[in-house]
Symmetry: C2
Subunit: 272 residues, 2 copies
Amino acid sequence: MQPCSLRRISLNQKTTERWNVQEAVEGCVRADVPWIALWREKVAEAGLQSSKRLVRDAGLQVSSLCRGGMFPAATAAERAARLDDNRRAVDEAAELWADVLVLVCGAAPDRDIGSARQWVKEGIAELAPYAKDRGITLGIEPLHPMYAAERSVVVTLAQALDLAEAYPADEVGVIVDVFHVWWDPDLEAQIARAGDRIKGFHVSDWIVPTPDLLMGRGMMGDGKIDIRGIRQLVETAGYGGPIEVEIFNQIIWYTPGDIVLAQMKQRYVEHV
Amino acid sequence: MQPCSLRRISLNQKTTERWNVQEAVEGCVRADVPWIALWREKVAEAGLQSSKRLVRDAGLQVSSLCRGGMFPAATAAERAARLDDNRRAVDEAAELWADVLVLVCGAAPDRDIGSARQWVKEGIAELAPYAKDRGITLGIEPLHPMYAAERSVVVTLAQALDLAEAYPADEVGVIVDVFHVWWDPDLEAQIARAGDRIKGFHVSDWIVPTPDLLMGRGMMGDGKIDIRGIRQLVETAGYGGPIEVEIFNQIIWYTPGDIVLAQMKQRYVEHV
C-alpha cells in the first residue's frame, strides 16, 4: 500500500502539549503541516477569536475540535450543565470552522455503567439538533476500554455506531483512533459498517511495555499497531479526510515541538 | 440479591503473591477458605507431588491451575515448544485434581494480531483432545484489551466463546473475570450465551485512578465494577462453582496474607 499523502496530516494539539495555539499554528506552518486539531482548553487560553484568526491567517484547516461529551453525572443539574458546555463547544467548533466536534462521552459517576450509557444516548439526542443547526458534525470517539471507568463508557466502534445510526451520517459519525480500537476482534467488520460515518482518523502507537494508562501512547512505528492496515480499512470504507497524529506521552511532550513535528511527518510516511 | 456463600470462595494464589504453596494452603485452612487456585510457577517451586499432598491433606479443592496458553510465537519451533509446555500444564492440572486449566492465550510477537489469533485457534485445537483424555477442562480467559499487546489477543467473551464453541462444553469453556470484562457493552448477552461453558468466575475491582496496567487491580468494593450484578448474570447463566479472588496489586502483596484473606472474605460477603 502506498504511503499516505502529507496533504492529509493533522497535528492534534495534544501531541505538542506545551505549545499554545499560536506556537502550534506557527509550528505547523514551519513544518508544512496543513491541518490542526485544536483543544478547547488551549483555545480558551488563547481566546476564541484570536485562535480563529491565527489559524485562518496561517492558512491551516481545523480537522476537529476536542472535545465535547462527558455527558454522565450524578445529578440532573450537573448533566444539564454538561449539556450547556457541549452547546458552547459546538459554537466554538462552528466559529473555528472545524469539520467535527469530537465527543469523548464520559464515565459513570458510580458503578452503574448502564445508566451512564443511557445518559450518553440522551445527551447526544439533545446535542445533535443543536449541532446540526450550526453545521457541525458530531464525532463519537470510542475510547479504549481501559478508560471505561474514568473517561468513556463508549468503548467499541460497534457501540459508537449503534449511537450514531439514530441520525443521518452527516450529523453524527464516529472517530476511529487506532490506539483505542486496534485490539477489537470485530474491527474490520465495524469499520466497513461505519462507511461514510467515519469523521476522523487518529494515529499513534501502542508501545510495549506500556508505561502508563493515559500517558503511554507512542509515536507511529514504535509499537504494535498495524496502522497502515487500519488506514487501508478506513479508506476502503470511504474515508479520505485528515489524519490526526494524537500522542499523549510525557517524553514526547518534553521534546521540542519542531522535532516532534519532523519525526511525526517521517513516521507518517513510513507507517501510516 | 443475597450475599454469596463462603463455601464458594477461592484464593487465587496471585492475591498472596509472597506466599508459597504451603503458606497459601495453611492460610486458607486458618481462614476457612475451602478452595485454592494454584499457579504453575509456585507449584514448580514447591514440587508437584508436594503441592498435591499439601492441598489434599488440608482438604482444599483446586478451583483452577493458572495457566496454560501463550500459543503465539515467532517461529514454528517456539510454537511447538509452547504446546509441549501446555501439555505439561494439563498433566499438572490432572495431578492436582484441578477443575480447570486456565488459558491466557498470548500476544502477537509482531504487529500481526490476525495471525496470532489464528495460532491461538490452532493451539487450542492441538491441546483440547490431550486435555479431554486427561479429564481436564480448558478455560479460555479473555483478558482486558489493555493486555492485547503483551498477554492475550483474546480480549472479549464473544471471541472466547467463538473459540470454545468448536468443542463440547465440558471440554472447552470460558473464564469470566470481572476485571477483564466489566466494560463490555455486550457483556450481558455474552454471559447468557456462555451458559454452561462458564468454567470459572474471578473477582477483583477496577480502582480509580488506576495506578498501573498490570498491578492496578483492587479489592472488591474499592472500585467501579458492579461485581454483584455480574455475579447475578453468571449465576443466571447457570454457573454455581467456585469464585476466585485474584488481585494483582503491590500494596495487597505487601500486606500480610492473613489480613488479606480476612479482608477478602469480608468484601466477598459485602460485594460479591
